[in-house]
């Protein structure tokens, strides 16, 4: 795992270095456009990991095994981080390019709503103590959120259809395309590693939770910490 992490970090550093210093600046936007190499991959990763989270929810509802549930929320956590990053970077890019921090473009609005919905999903999980119940509730909510995404996107798009503001056609330099792809794979590698680490942690958490909920076995067994009973 350590070796893999080092390789991923080196790959990431290389891809971003190439994007920042080697690829030529854009004709219209100059160096500002270079945020593309982190903004676009993070947006892609957030979609990919929300999709993985949905797969986890569906898998849990079909198979009822805790592993699927863990996949669902670990992927949602990584996706949420990437989603927040994409929103933040997009905003930073939007100010010099469009002149505003925020615009009510359907994609932006849907992304912001996804951020709120998945935050709610993760908070909901924290509030339910019983693991079985938690997994069932979370899987249903995860599925409903995913079903809602196309509806949200469509309604926001219609809402804005009267005054659509910007479009961004660009013919990119081939070296930019290569750099964007490299960045995307670098992000994918880092996110997958994050997911794997998070899944291992989640497995340990689940084991601990199970052990603490069982009564201690015999005199030699490790004792679970008990809350003090005062009369």
């Amino acid at each position: 795992m350590f070796v893999l992490s080092v390789i991923a970090a080196a790959f990431f550093a290389f891809a971003e270095y190439r994007g920042l210093f080697i690829v030529p600046p854009d004709r219209m936007m100059g160096d500002v456009y270079r945020i593309l190499f982190v903004h676009v991959p993070s947006a892609w990763m957030s979609m990919l990991f929300f999709l993985l989270s949905f797969v986890g929810s569906a898998g849990y509802l079909i198979r009822r095994s805790p592993a699927w549930d863990r996949l669902s929320y670990c992927a949602a956590e990584v996706g949420l981080v990437m989603n927040g990053l994409a929103l933040f970077l997009g905003s930073v890019w939007g100010k010099p390019t469009w002149g505003v921090w925020w615009t009510w473009d359907p994609r932006l609005t849907t992304t912001a709503l996804l951020f709120v919905m998945y935050s709610g999903y993760l908070i909901l999980r924290r509030l339910i103590n019983d693991p079985d119940r938690r997994a069932k509730v979370a899987a249903s909510v995860g599925l409903l959120i995913f079903l809602n995404v196309p509806l949200v996107y469509m309604s926001v798009k219609w809402w804005r259809s009267l005054h659509q503001v910007q479009s961004n056609p660009n013919s990119m330099d081939p070296s930019m395309v290569v750099s964007l792809r490299l960045s995307a794979f670098a992000f994918l590698a880092v996110c997958l590693l994050l997911l794997i680490f998070r899944l291992r942690l989640a497995k340990k958490e689940a084991d601990l939770e199970e052990r603490l909920s069982l009564p201690p076995e015999g005199p030699g067994a490790p004792r679970a910490p008990q809350s003090k009973v005062t009369t």
């Binding site: 509030l127 509730v137 599925l143 409903l144 509806l151």
Partner: protein
Amino acid sequence: MNLFFRQTLAIFRKDLAMEVREGHHLVSIVLFGVLLLLLFSFALSVDPELMRRMAPGLLWLAVFFTSILSLSHAFRKETEDGQWDGLLLLGTDPRALYLGKLMTNLALVLLFQAVLLPMMAIFFDQSLPLSLGVSLFLGSLGIATVGTLYAGLTASFREGQLLLPLLLFPMLVPVLLCSVNVTALALAHDLFGQQRAWLKLLILFDTIFLLGSLLFAETLFDRS
């Protein structure tokens, strides 16, 4: 199947009777909705023409906020008095429990509409066409469908009341957008028939989430 509908109706009647007996609760929510319309006017503008244009949005915001108040209390008897276990022990189908609750919540949202809509017409100088009824019903159904499921999910823990709007409102964004647009078009007498697309989207939302909620209610409402 017959038993299923009888259970649904029994739960609906029980809830309705309870709401009527605790009438002060309903009255305070409705008054809060009217107060909201007043506050919107104070906060936004003195220009009557601008307020006329914003009226559909303000109406639906008031409906959303009043609905969340009644939804967050929709399951209080079930969780506080252990009625939930009682109902299940009696052999109630969890889906019947969901549907009965859904009917109650739909009735309540429609009641709020029935008060807020004329108030909106008075405050913001609108004449109300009959075609408004369809959009009001479909929008309320959307709120009640998802709202009942989420209220049931969050009812069992204390912080649930705080979490309910956070979970529910983002899910209801399509309902809000469709309802506001349909209402605005209906008030403007919709010369070009633009309502159809919005209404279709609203019907799609209601269908998807009614089926989805019924599917999940079987396992989620199985224990409190």
